[in-house]
Symmetry: C2
Subunit: 110 residues, 2 copies
DNA sequence: GTGAACTACCTAGCATTGCTGAGTACTGGT
DNA sequence: ACCAGTACTCAGCAATGCTAGGTAGTTCAC
C-alpha cells in the first residue's frame, strides 16, 4: 500500500511540475529540489525524471542539453505551448475538484 | 490516456466515499448517485463498487445486506472506526496538498 | 406478456501513475 | 583512493480508476 499522499499525487504531480516550469526553465534535479523545498520531501527522484520523459514525449515541454559546472550535463526543460494549455486545463480540473472536496468537508461537519 | 480528472481522482475517490459515509450509511448505487449529483458525472459505477469492496476488506467500512423495495437486495455500508481514522488522515493529507497547490497557483501568477 | 427502463451489484482485463532499487557519470574535498 | 554531491536513466512493482461486459429484480407502457 502506498501512502495517502502517494495516491493523491497521482495526476497532481504532472500539474505541479508544469507549474514549476511555467515559472521558468529548469532541469530535473532542480525541479526535484524545489518540490522538496515545498514540503514534498518524499517525492522520489526517479519519479520526477520519468515524468519529465513522459511529458517531453507528449510535447508538453521542450528539452535542451546544457553543460554543468559541477556534474554531468543537465537536461533543461521549458514549457511548450501544448504544456501551457495542459497546465491551464489542470488548474481548471483542480479547482473543480477542490471546490467539491471543500464542500464535502464542510458539509460533513453537521 | 485517461482524462485529467480521472488521474486526479486517484486516491481522492476513496476519501470522498468515506466522507459520504461519514454522513450516514448508504449503499453503492446511492453513493454513485450522490457523486454524480456533486458533479462527478463521469465516475463509473464499476469503479465505486470495486472501491467499496476494497475498503470493506480493509475494514474501513462495515457491510450489511438489506432487502430493497425496487430491485435486488442492497449492500449497505457504514463507516467503521478504522475508516474514521483513515478519513481524518485523508483530510490532513488533502489539506497539505491543497495548501501547497494553491501557493503554486498564486505564485505562478507573477 | 414483452420489452424498455430503472434499480442494484459484480467481474476480468487494461492504462496510467508513482515508488523501489538499482546503475551510470562527472566534480570536488579529505 | 574515497566519499559526498550533482545529474540522469531504467526495469519491475503496487495501487487506482475505467472499459465493457454480465446478472437480477421491479415497474410501467405498448
Amino acid at each position: 500500500m502506498g501512502s495517502q499522499l502517494t495516491e493523491l499525487l497521482k495526476g497532481t504531480l504532472e500539474g505541479m511540475v508544469l507549474a514549476v516550469l511555467a515559472d521558468g526553465p529548469a532541469h530535473g534535479y532542480e525541479i526535484t529540489a524545489r518540490l522538496r523545498d515545498m514540503g514534498f520531501s518524499e517525492v522520489a527522484e526517479g519519479t520526477v525524471y520519468a515524468l519529465l520523459i513522459r511529458i517531453e514525449q507528449r510535447r508538453l515541454v521542450d528539452a535542451e542539453k546544457m553543460p554543468s559546472a559541477k556534474g554531468p550535463p543537465r537536461k533543461v526543460y521549458s514549457l511548450a505551448a501544448e504544456g501551457r494549455r495542459r497546465l491551464d486545463e489542470f488548474w481548471q480540473t483542480w479547482n473543480f475538484l477542490a471546490e467539491r472536496l471543500d464542500q464535502l468537508h464542510e458539509g460533513g461537519m453537521t
